[in-house]
């Protein structure tokens, strides 16, 4: 294992899968220029056919990925930033999510849509969306949302090999985070398997994406006060590993859900609703959500920082439950 960054783990996953399967190819804007660092060395190795720059036509090239996947290719689309998916929304929701179904399983669409959640750094509201919850209610799409380099690489490789469309939401606040990550073919993490990032008995924090490291820090802080906090990272939102979540809540009876998305209809809301439905009897306290309030993220840094989940807000929520 080597210590690599989150960005580098994406690059490696792409590199290895391009090398393994000639049907895999990558397309998107400014890949050759390697804006974010996820294509270093890829062009030299695989050429500009398989690492393909596109014009500014998101609906067009996302749809082209769908078509290519229907005839047997396995495209990875780098949509760069989450909010650009709105331009391609028709292809995502009407073609990619629904084709297998409306044609009664005659076709499969093995493709990956990668997107960076580019928030927390004064990019203003049009460039800061954390919009995975929108797609959780759209059947036909799988969703990975890794919180560290190890998971990122393992989940992305699995996603590329999966026969269904997978959306990969990559948290920009984690880009420079480093971690131990295996190299080579066999680092695959199954979709639908949550990971317990820290074991504990007094309360559960279910956290996604950039919320996970914050939750771990909060757990660490509370451990000084003698509290034992479990941190569960679903890692994939569709399929969602309900069992692991329910098991943890059954054990602790207290839960905070952390999610950088806007509060309404967030992944946190869904997880909370599942718990309220399926683990009600074990609950000793309200289910609290630590999310972004339902206002846009502003450009001004002090405002943006205050709105996003933080260690402090998670600690406060946990303290409310534990007292």
């Amino acid at each position: 294992m080597a210590r690599i960054s989150f960005i580098e783990s994406i690059r490696q996953a792409q590199y290895e899968e391009l090398a393994r399967d000639p049907k895999v190819f990558l397309m998107g804007e400014d890949l050759v220029a390697n804006v974010f660092g996820t294509t270093t060395g890829l062009i030299e190795e695989f050429g500009t056919d398989r690492v393909r720059d596109t014009p500014l036509s998101e609906n067009g090239f996302v749809g082209a990925a769908a078509g290519a996947s229907m005839v047997g290719a396995r495209p990875i689309v780098d949509l760069t930033i989450t909010s650009f998916v709105y331009v391609a929304m028709d292809q995502v929701c009407s073609i990619i999510a629904k084709s297998k179904y409306i044609y009664g399983g005659q076709v499969k669409l093995p493709l990956v849509l990668r997107m960076c959640m580019f928030y927390g750094n004064s990019n203003a509201a049009q460039h800061s969306d954390r919009n995975y919850p929108m797609f959780m209610g759209m059947p036909g799409l799988k969703i990975i949302i890794p919180s560290n380099p190890y998971d990122m690489k393992g989940l992305l490789k699995t996603a590329i090999r999966d026969d269904d469309p997978v959306m990969s939401f990559e948290d920009g606040t984690l880009w420079s985070q480093k971690g131990e990550v295996p190299e080579g073919e066999d680092h695959l993490i199954p979709l639908g398997l949550a990971d317990i990032k820290r074991e504990g008995t007094d309360a559960t924090v279910v956290a996604v994406a950039g919320g996970v490291p914050l939750a771990l820090k909060a757990a660490e802080e509370l451990s000084k006060d003698g509290f034992s906090i479990e941190v569960v990272d679903p890692r994939t939102l569709v399929p969602l590993d309900r069992d692991t979540i329910i098991r943890s809540v059954s054990k602790t009876g207290r839960v905070v859900v952390v999610d950088p998305a806007h509060q309404s209809c967030s992944a946190a809301s869904e997880i909370s609703a599942i718990i309220a439905e399926e683990a009600f009897e074990s609950l000793k306290a309200p289910i609290l959500r630590v999310t972004t309030p339902d206002t846009h993220l502003p450009f001004f840094p002090n405002g943006e920082k205050a709105l996003l989940p933080s260690k402090h807000r998670i600690v406060s929520a946990l303290k409310r439950l534990l007292n």
Partner: protein, 349 residues
């Protein structure tokens, strides 16, 4: 349509009776497929009105020449993408009508297992890559099929049917630009039937001929002014297909045609009174025109009659097959969302 146009088109049609481009067998095949569409849809309409078929029904009656002429320019393993007016395309590309009819009847044996219905009669076994009911949404898919086929080294051509209305969607623009810069083997075939539901193309499309939009992409174009003539459509499309197959890139083909029926059966009531215009077009029935042409060429109706009998039988068989098939089980609704069965995760509460 002006009288002048009408006469010009008759002249053009007659001039064409020289079999330069098509063998007699191909004429018969064209007639066979066009008649299949005609009968399939006529019976479907009838039975829909009897309540046998759920949902809406968008027929391509009147557009048979355009559909079949274009499809016959393809090889069997070429690809095709269509739209909400989905019955004609697969029949034009020689699909078995049984699973198509069963789909209209929402049966388990339907081509889409009863999940798609009238707007989605796509038969992937004959290279049909979807009939999609969101207007314009098939265009990028067609580009991708051509791209994918190129990348896999298979060199298949993709034919993409879309309407005059669809040519105003952003997807049209992005798809044509992509196909052009990547020099892909796509034939964009605009079925200009003059209307998008109740909106006349003349009010919605800011250019006289949609084919002219090809210039915005340095793309070749073909304009077929007589889309009721099977051979004209075939010739133009064939040229485009050959160009694509030769690696010389995409073509935008526009075919002027007309739909004889309402936009869709089950829209509640007659939306637009197309009056005289409809009358004029009804006089130029593409199936009739081809029949007359073959008759003029051959001077013998025997084979035509055989075809007619064959199609009657096929339709009856298809109807029989559909009606005798079972409806899907509720549990089937949980299949085909993903490769895994969704009910394993969620269950029906």
């Amino acid at each position: 349509m002006s009288l002048f146009m009408h006469i010009a088109q008759i002249y053009f049609r007659n001039r064409m009776v020289d079999m330069e481009n098509l063998t007699l067998e191909q004429y018969y095949e064209g007639y066979l497929r066009m008649l299949r569409i005609r009968k399939f849809e006529t019976r479907a309409e009838e039975n829909h009105s009897k309540g046998e078929i759920p949902g809406a029904l968008h027929t391509s009656l009147g557009q048979e020449a355009e559909v079949v002429g274009a499809c016959m320019a393809l090889k069997d393993d070429d690809y095709m993408v269509g739209n909400h007016r989905s019955h004609g395309h697969p029949i034009g590309k020689n699909a078995d009508m049984k699973p198509l009819m069963a789909e209209l009847y929402a049966r388990k044996t339907g081509i889409c297992g009863g999940k798609g219905g009238s707007m989605h009669l796509s038969d992937f076994s004959i290279g049909s890559l979807g009939e999609t009911s969101i207007v314009g949404s098939g265009l990028p898919v067609a580009v991708g099929a051509a791209l994918g086929s190129n990348m896999l080294g298979e060199g298949r051509v993709t034919l993409c049917f879309f309407g005059d209305g669809a040519s105003n969607e952003g997807a049209f623009h992005e798809a044509l630009n992509l196909a052009a810069i990547w020099n892909l083997p796509v034939v964009f075939l605009c079925e200009n039937n003059g209307w998008a539901v109740s909106m006349p193309a003349s009010k919605a499309v800011s250019v006289e001929n949609i084919a002219d939009r090809a210039a915005a992409y340095s793309m070749r174009s073909e304009l077929v002014t007589d889309g009721q003539d099977f051979e004209s459509v075939y010739i133009a499309t064939k040229r485009a297909v050959d160009t694509a197959r030769a690696g010389e890139g995409p073509t935008l083909v526009e075919v002027k045609t007309y739909r004889f029926a309402e936009h869709a059966v089950n829209m509640g009531r007659m939306l637009v009174d197309r009056g005289e215009e409809l009358e004029e077009w009804l006089k130029r029935d593409p199936v009739e025109i081809l029949r007359i042409k073959i008759n003029e060429m051959v001077g013998d109706e025997t084979r035509l009659k055989e075809i007619e009998e064959q199609v009657e039988r096929e339709i009856e068989d298809a109807l029989e097959f559909a009606k005798q098939s079972d409806f899907p089980d509720v549990a089937d609704a949980f299949d085909d969302v993903y490769s895994e069965r969704v009910s394993d995760f969620y269950g029906l509460s």
